[in-house]
Structures are given as C-alpha cells and as structure tokens.
C-alpha cells in the first residue's frame, strides 16, 4: 500500500478515506501478521489472566460460575446465586449501549432492565442450559395521575417518572424481564429490580404467570428476595399488572475476551475507583432522554443513599504506552510502517531521508476507551515540509480519525475525543513523519472505563494470586505485577513482583482495612501490569 502523505487535509480527516477503510478492513489480519513474529521473538505477553482465590473471577462465564456455584446446591440456590451476582454487580443506570454480558459485567457494571436480564439469562444458561432461561417484555397501562396510580395499584409509567428524576420516557415505559426454568417450572427472578417472591405454598420461586394469577404473592408475600426491591421501597405493582411478553432473545453469547496484553513500554493500570475528569461513556441512545444533571456525575447507583453511592459507580483504567525510542521495543507494537528506518539508531525516522515515512501502532483492550491523549516530540522537519502529526484512527467507520499536528516546536500534544470515536475497544495511532523529521518521544495515554467490582481483588488476610498467560514469556519480558492498597489507619500496602513464568501463583497478605461494608472494594487502589522498555 502506498502511504505518501498528500497535501494538507482537514484537521480531523488527515487520512484519505479509501486508505482508512482499507486499513480498518485489514486491521485484524495486520494485527495477526504483525503480532505473530513479535510474540515469537519479542517480549510481548498476551492472554494474561489474573485471579485470586478469594474473589469471583469474571474472566469468563465458566470462571464466574465456578466462583458462585458450589457442589450440592439445589437448582433454586444456583438460580439465586446467578441472580445475586447480576444484581450486586450491575446497577440501574442508562446505559452501556451494549448487551454483551461479559462487557456489561466487566466494563460497565450498570444497564437498564433489558441488558440486565440478558446478562442473567447468559449466566443462568451456563447453569441450566440454553432452554433454562428466557426473556420477555411486559408493559403497563398508561396512568394519567398519581392518585389514580395509587388507587388502581398499578403503573410502571408513573413509577418511573417519579423515581428517575428528570426522566422523560422515550415512549410508553415498560420493563423487560426473564424467567429461569428449572425443576420443571419457570421462576421469575428480576435482577434489575431485586425481586422474587415465593408461591403460596412456600415451595419455590413464583413464575410471572403465578404472580399474575395470584397478586397476593406480591402484595402480601409468603417470602421474598432479600433485599426486596431495594430501589423502589416497595412499589412492585407492575409485576402483577404485567401484559405482553414473548419468548425472549434465546441463547445469549459473547465473543468478548478479558485476556490482557502488555508490550514493552506499556503499562496497564486498573483502578478500584474513578479518575478525576469524569471519564465515562455517554450513552448515545439515551443522551437526549435524560436531564443533564442526571449524567453529571457519571454512572452510579442513585437510589440507595450516599454510602452505597460512594462505592457503586463507574471506574477507570489506564493504558500508558511510552516506549523508549532509543531502543527497539516499540516495534512490537507496530502493525504497519513504510520507509521507517531500522538501523538501530534512536528515534523513528524515514529510511530514505528525502521521503516521508509513517508508523502505525495498534492498541486493544478488554475495556472501553473513554478518554485519551497524545504527547509526541518531533525533531523538526525541513522548511517547506508538512508538519509531523499523530492520528488516532478508531475502528468504527462512522468515527472520523482525529489528528494532532506538531507545532513549530515539534510537539504534538492533545486529547482524543472518545465520544467522537464512538467509544472503541481498540484503535490505531499513526505517526506521519515528513521527510527529514524524526520522532524522539512518544506517550500515548488511554483512559478506559471498567467495573472495579469485577476486578480480581485481594481481601484482607491471606490471598493467593494466580497468574496465567498464553503468549510470550513473562519472565523474559520482565513483566511486573503491582498491587497497591490502603490498610486501616491510612497505611499504604504495596506488592510488586516480577512474573515467574506463564503460570504461577503467589501469596499476598493484606492487613485490616477501614472500608465498609465488605463489598466496598475502595481499600484497593490499583492493579498494575507493566513491561519496561529497557532493551
């Protein structure tokens, strides 16, 4: 492919469309082609999976279920275990704009009812099989007045309007739910609302048909979930006023991988908190449906008080790529280049001095990119040459590339707009080097969004940390694993150790912590993986 820079283009459209489209189409192949030799001979470590013996492992459905399903459990206990996991790891907030269950759990940790029930279906299908969980929808009658609502004892529409401040329902408000099928019956467990009730004989969790057939199962329950509709404080009328319904979305699947990759000069940080700056994904589908102040703080659990809100909110991670351009480690992150010198001298330079060159770096993460910045320093090009520039190319064809040109001082520095980039999970950064120029320093920083409740988490006391990787040689790469936490009294805990191989485990002991309750993970500060670029 030819990549001769053309005349100057629009600031955000620096790459010709055809070339961009072709590059994007070929990206997977290019990544494979570029990564294979690098992994074989380099220091990139891929397929990383870290877990602890005391926290649920959210790497896959199988690992999740291994953490919540115990031998000897009844089917009902298994169903409740799935329900509880979804209920306690996904709260109600609009909206990821994705329904992939692994992403919803690991990346967002919040969703609306349809996505929550899909996630429960996905999880439960891992226990009960593909026929064991089905979704459906139901609607309520529109009710025009709160007093009518109270007397008629029904109406999701009004209930929603009062609960969700500033809400403007896009249409007739409704609710989506699912039932789990086991022991020859359907059972209605609503992980969104925190709702299930038992049948009048107290023997099993009621189906939506049984609830509809006997509303006293809801109004005067024999036994309920605990907590029971914690967000609504008890307005479950719409469950027995249900209308509509269908067979649901069927088998839920995911192709998303939570495996990590670290390359020379790259650092991955997973914070058990959010970073300053309000870096979170703005729902595109609902952005006009909610009052601005609703979204002001970013996704968080709104309805259970400030204490719960303090640790039920979105989190952030970081990808910092800062290769030492005097060394050769950066080449493991290159997926394409043209006329790039490979003479071992410092910096990225055109091989043929009178011709321009470019280098294309690829980034990929299990977590969605919500912010980014580029900081590059170029040795000045000759007079009359185009300015060096850095271009971020999102994978979504609807998103335009974002270009930052170097100024007269040779510095190209700026932020990336991930809303414009449609919140990607991967992207390319292209360095354009006019004839006579060279890149002497590069720092690419992505902020990702994550659900820190699903990160591997050591608990106070002794923990075993398990490390697995499937690509590369972590010991040879000098991969480092760092945990940082805060113990009681504000004392900082710190553990950094080199990877001992592709599969190893080690003990990690944490002292007492001040944070409460037990599901508050804020005593942890971060998990960091890095490979130095020192060769």
């Amino acid at each position: 492919m030819r990549n001769q820079p053309t005349a100057r283009r629009a600031h955000t459209g620096g790459t010709p469309l055809l070339r961009t489209v072709v590059l994007r189409a070929l990206l997977p192949l290019l990544l494979l082609a570029a990564a294979a030799p690098a992994l074989a001979a380099g220091r990139t470590v891929g397929g990383i999976h870290i877990r602890t013996d005391r926290s649920i492992d959210f790497f896959s459905r199988e690992t999740i279920l291994a953490g919540i399903i115990e031998p000897g459990m009844t089917n009902e206990e298994k169903a409740i275990a799935c329900y509880e996991l979804v209920r306690t790891h996904i709260y109600h907030f609009p909206r990821p704009d994705e329904s992939d269950p692994k992403r919803v759990l690991n990346v967002y940790g919040y969703a609306l009812c349809g996505t929550i029930q899909r996630t429960l279906v996905w999880l439960a299908q891992g226990v009960f099989g593909p026929d064991g969980a089905q979704g459906a929808g139901m609607r309520s009658r529109p009710i025009e007045n709160p007093e009518t609502f109270r007397i008629a004892a029904g109406g999701w529409l009004n209930d929603s309007m009062y609960r969700l401040d500033g809400a403007r329902p896009p249409a007739r408000m409704g609710h989506t739910w699912c039932q789990l099928y086991y022991d020859g019956r359907y059972h209605y467990l609503d992980a969104h609302a925190g709702f299930f009730v038992y049948t009048a004989d107290g023997k099993h969790i009621a189906s939506i048909a049984e609830i509809s057939g006997d509303p006293t199962l809801v109004t005067d329950p024999v036994r309920t979930s605990d907590p029971f509709m914690p967000c609504d404080q008890g307005r479950p009328e719409f469950f027995y006023r249900a209308t509509g319904g269908n067979r649901g979305p069927g088998v839920q699947e995911t192709q998303h991988s939570m495996a990590l990759r670290v390359r020379p000069g790259e650092t991955l940080i997973f914070h058990f908190d959010k970073l300053p700056g309000r870096h979170f994904k703005r729902s595109r589908s609902w952005r006009n449906q909610w009052a601005p102040d609703y979204y002001e703080e970013g996704p968080h659990l709104r309805s259970q008080g400030p204490e719960v809100k303090s640790y039920r909110h979105y989190g952030n991670g970081e990808i910092i790529f800062e290769p030492d351009l005097t060394r050769q480690g950066f080449r493991e992150s290159l997926v394409q280049s043209e006329n790039l010198a490979d003479d071992g001298l410092p910096g990225l330079r055109p091989k043929a001095p009178g011709q321009p060159a470019y280098a294309l770096f690829a980034f990929e993460t299990p977590y969605v990119m919500v912010a980014g910045s580029v900081d590059a320093t170029f040795a000045a090009a000759g007079a009359g040459q185009a300015a060096p520039r850095v271009t971020f190319i999102p994978p979504d064809r609807r998103a335009r590339p974002q270009t930052i040109e170097a100024g007269a001082d040779g510095v190209a520095s700026g932020t990336l707009n991930m809303d414009d980039a449609r919140y990607p999970f991967s992207g390319q950064v292209r360095i354009d080097l006019p004839a006579g120029s060279s890149l002497t320093r590069l720092r690419i920083h992505f902020v990702t969004q994550l659900n820190f409740h699903t990160l591997p988490r050591p608990l106070p006391g002794q923990n075993t940390v398990f490390f697995n990787s499937t690509e590369g040689d972590p010991a040879h790469a000098k991969l480092q694993i760092e945990w940082v936490w805060t113990e009681a009294g504000g004392r900082e805990g710190h553990d950094t150790r080199p990877a001992a191989g592709n599969e190893f485990e080690y003990q990690l002991t944490l002292g007492e912590v001040d944070t409460t309750p037990a599901d508050n993970p804020k005593y942890m500060r971060w998990l960091k993986l890095s490979i130095p670029d020192d060769r």
Binding site: E147, I151, G184, R185, K203, T216, L217, T219, D220, T224
Partner: protein, 455 residues
C-alpha cells in the same frame, strides 16, 4: 396430582409452565390383523407408544400439574330470551333487577329507560326524558322505585337532574331541587335520596320536599368528569360518601358536622343496629394499599370508632384476611345477613402456607361481632383478574392460572363456572341468584338468560 386437562385444544398444566403442546390425535382404529396408518406397527404397539407419549407429555408438564382449580361446579345456558332489541343498534346498558324480583330495568342512549316485567313479555319504555338526554345512574330502592340521573344538553348548557319511575307507570318524574346530580342513592325506607353534584353532596327528603347540602367537595385531584363524591351509601338517616379519586369516606347526618371515617371500601350498613361495616384500605407489607380485614363502626359512639371484625394486621406474623384483594374500582362483596348476625365476604387467608401455589379465593362467613374467625363456605380458586360485585352475587374473570368465568352467589354461598359463551359484562348485567336468571343489557339487545347447574 391429576393428569393435565384438555381445554380448547391445548394441554394446560395447572402450574407455571405454559405448555404449547397439542394432544396428538387418537390413532385411527385399524382393522383386526392390519397395521396402523403408519403401516409399520401393530395396533397394540401403536397404542402402547401413544400411551407412553401421553405419559411423557404429562411428565413434561412436571410438578406444575395439579387438580382442577375451584370452583368445579358448572352452569349451562338453558335459554336466552330477548326482551328488547335496538332499532338502531347499540345503546342498552346497565340491566338491573328490582329487589322484589318482578322487574328488569335498563337504560338506552337517548335518555330512555326500559322496563320489563319478568312474567310479561311486554316491555315498557319511558321515553319522556328531554331530547338529547342520557342516563348516568340507575338505582332501585328497596321498595322497587327506580331512581335515575338524567343528563340533558340544552342551549343553556348541560342540565342534570334526578328522576323517579314507579313501575308500571311509564313516566319519569323529575325530582325538584336535584340540579347537577350525577348519581343517586336511596335511603332504606325509600323516602329520601342522596345525590352528588360536581361540587357537593346533597340530601333530598322526598316527602318533605326539602334538599339540604351535606358536604362540599374535597380539595385535590379527582378523575376527569367525576362528581365530588362517587359512592353514596345511606346508613339510616346518615349518608356515607367517598370523595372522588380517593378512598376517603365521610359520614354525614343532616345538621351535624361530617365525620371522616378514613380510607375504606365496600361500606355495608346495618342501620337497625346502628352499625356500619367496611373493608379497611390498608398498605400491606410492600406498601401496596388493598382491601384488608373488616372493621365495624359503632355509630352510637361519637365519633364512631372502628373495631376489628376480621384481622388485617400483617405485622405480627398472625393470620389475616384480604377481602377482594386489590381492585378498588368495584363494590366489595361485604354482605350482612338479614338477621345482622353474619357477614359474608370474598377474599384470601394470609399468614399460613397454602396447599397450592396460589392462595385459595373463598367466600367466607364470620360472626358480625367478630367473635370467631372466618370460615370458608365456598372455594373459588385463585383470585380473579377482574371482579364485579352486585347486591347478591359476583362475577369474576380469571385468565391465569386456570382460565374461568365464575358466578358466585353471596346469598346462598355457592360458586359456579359459567359457560365459555357467557360473554356479558357484569356492569351491564344483573343476576337473580335464587333463580339463576341473568338479565343482560348487551348494547344491541336486552336478554334474559336462564342458567342451570350442569351435571
């Protein structure tokens, strides 16, 4: 556990799993010595496979299969007799039998009131309402006088007024000083009425020809087009009225200050003993207001104090009752026996485990002094989705768990399944339960439907 029942071509399990399996056709009888239609299996083997298949189906239905849901007694339609047919189509509503069982009344759009003597095929139609009129309420007194509220659009605006019809006289007699009346209630002796306008509640002494205002409208929201008070009940000389859009009842005696009774439903007066029974409107464990327990007001006390006849406190772990459960838009089933000693109501018992996955909806009886717990006198299965109550009966529609239309006799404490083709609306239907005779205004016609118990 019995086998699944076949109903409308679908195999319905009595539980939660909505089976969509259809019973296979029974194999055609094969000639002796010949093979079945498939040509491969001897008949006996085919039947065996069929039996196994049915058994497997029953097994698939799983533990949700149970005995048929109550009631099991059935009615069938013996005869449907047309009393009246609309010349223009539509319009007939609100058929009501007179308390003496001699008359069936209904009204027709345009302001006509139809009247049929049950022992006479002729129909009397009172047509003297002004042109452009409509009827908004139709109520018999115990003395079989018919009170109606007429709404007429005139050049000066909408005019509303109470009128009375004395069968067999075919004339509506307008009652003076009842302007603005939306609804009407009779005093037990038939000598006074109460009515509500958009702004107030009034009492009209029909003999003294005096109208007095009892109570102004209450502040707050009410349904669009509703009068100030939607339900009116005479308790001796007093009038109890429910403020529109709420469950708040007021008790008013002409010349005395009104008394707020609280949030109630289904008031059942006992004027002879100066008592008033009602279903309390209570928020339950999950804060949903619904009919709960029964209280009795001693009207001799000032103010009237309620005492609990049927328990409704859900907070102490003891058994309590939910009369009628949850739909506040219909009158309740609460009924007092003529001797004043026994209350009847429909509802469910809560606070103990049921033998079924649902709570059994029953007709209950309880001493009116609350000296004993209620006892079930008829079981009617899981509660109805819609539940309409008349003076002596109820009709319930149930779509789940076991679809059924049920007629319940609150006087004799019986309940039956109605035939599937029984498609009348309760609001426009009345039943003489002792004769199993149904009067139904079905829009295009008014019919008498004779039912009888099926074997």
């Amino acid at each position: 556990m019995s086998s699944p029942r076949r109903r409308r071509g679908r195999l319905l399990s009595q539980g939660t799993r909505p089976c969509r399996l259809t019973l296979p056709r029974r194999p055609a009888p094969a000639a002796p010595g010949r093979r079945s239609m498939s040509g491969n299996e001897p008949r006996s083997r085919t039947l065996l496979l069929y039996a196994v298949f049915v058994a497997v189906l029953a097994g698939l239905a799983g533990p949700g299969v149970a005995a048929p849901v109550n009631p099991t007694a059935r009615l069938r339609i013996v005869e449907t007799r047309t009393l009246w047919q609309s010349p223009e189509g539509g319009g007939a509503q609100r058929a009501r039998f007179s308390p003496d069982g001699r008359w069936l009344a209904w009204y027709v759009s345009g302001g006509q009131v139809g009247l049929a003597a049950l022992d006479n095929p002729d129909v009397i139609t009172a047509t003297n309402a002004p042109n452009g009129s409509s009827i908004t309420d139709l109520v018999w007194s115990r003395q079989s006088q018919l009170g109606v509220c007429i709404r007429t659009e005139t050049d000066a605006g909408v005019v509303r007024q109470v009128a009375i019809l004395h069968p067999p006289a075919p004339r509506l007699v307008l009652v003076e000083d009842t302007a603005g009346a939306y609804n009407v209630a009779w005093r037990q002796d038939g000598r006074a009425i109460a009515f509500s306008t958009k702004t107030a509640l009034f009492h009209r002494d029909l003999e003294g020809e005096v109208t007095v205002k009892l109570l102004d409208e209450q502040a707050g929201w009410r349904p669009r087009g509703a009068p100030a008070y939607e339900d009116l009940v005479f308790v001796g000389d007093r009038v109890a009225a429910r403020a529109a859009g709420t469950m708040h009842w007021w008790l008013i005696q002409p010349g005395t200050p009104p008394v707020a009774l609280g949030e109630l439903r289904g008031l059942c007066p006992d004027p002879e003993r100066d008592r008033l029974f009602a279903v309390s409107w209570q928020a339950g464990p999950v804060h949903i207001p619904r009919g709960a327990g029964i209280v009795s007001f001693d009207l001799a006390a000032n103010p009237p104090e309620p005492s609990i006849i049927v328990p409704f406190d859900h907070s102490d772990g003891k058994i309590y009752w939910l009369p009628d459960i949850w739909d506040a838009t219909y009158p309740t089933t609460l009924r007092l026996s003529p001797d004043g000693r026994t209350l009847s109501f429909c509802g469910v018992k809560v606070g103990e485990l049921s033998p079924n996955t649902w709570r059994e909806f029953c007709i209950w009886q309880v001493p009116s002094d609350g000296s004993q717990e209620p006892v079930p006198v008829e079981q009617t299965g899981n509660i109805f989705k819609r539940f309409d109550v008349g003076e002596t009966h109820f009709i319930g529609w149930r779509y789940r768990i076991d679809s059924a239309i049920v007629l319940g006799d609150l006087t004799r404490h019986r309940a039956w399944r109605l035939p599937d083709e029984f498609d009348v609306q309760r609001a426009n239907t009345d039943v003489l339960t002792d004769r199993l005779l149904v009067g139904a205004a079905r829009g295009n016609d008014v019919v008498l439907i004779q039912l009888e118990e099926a074997n």
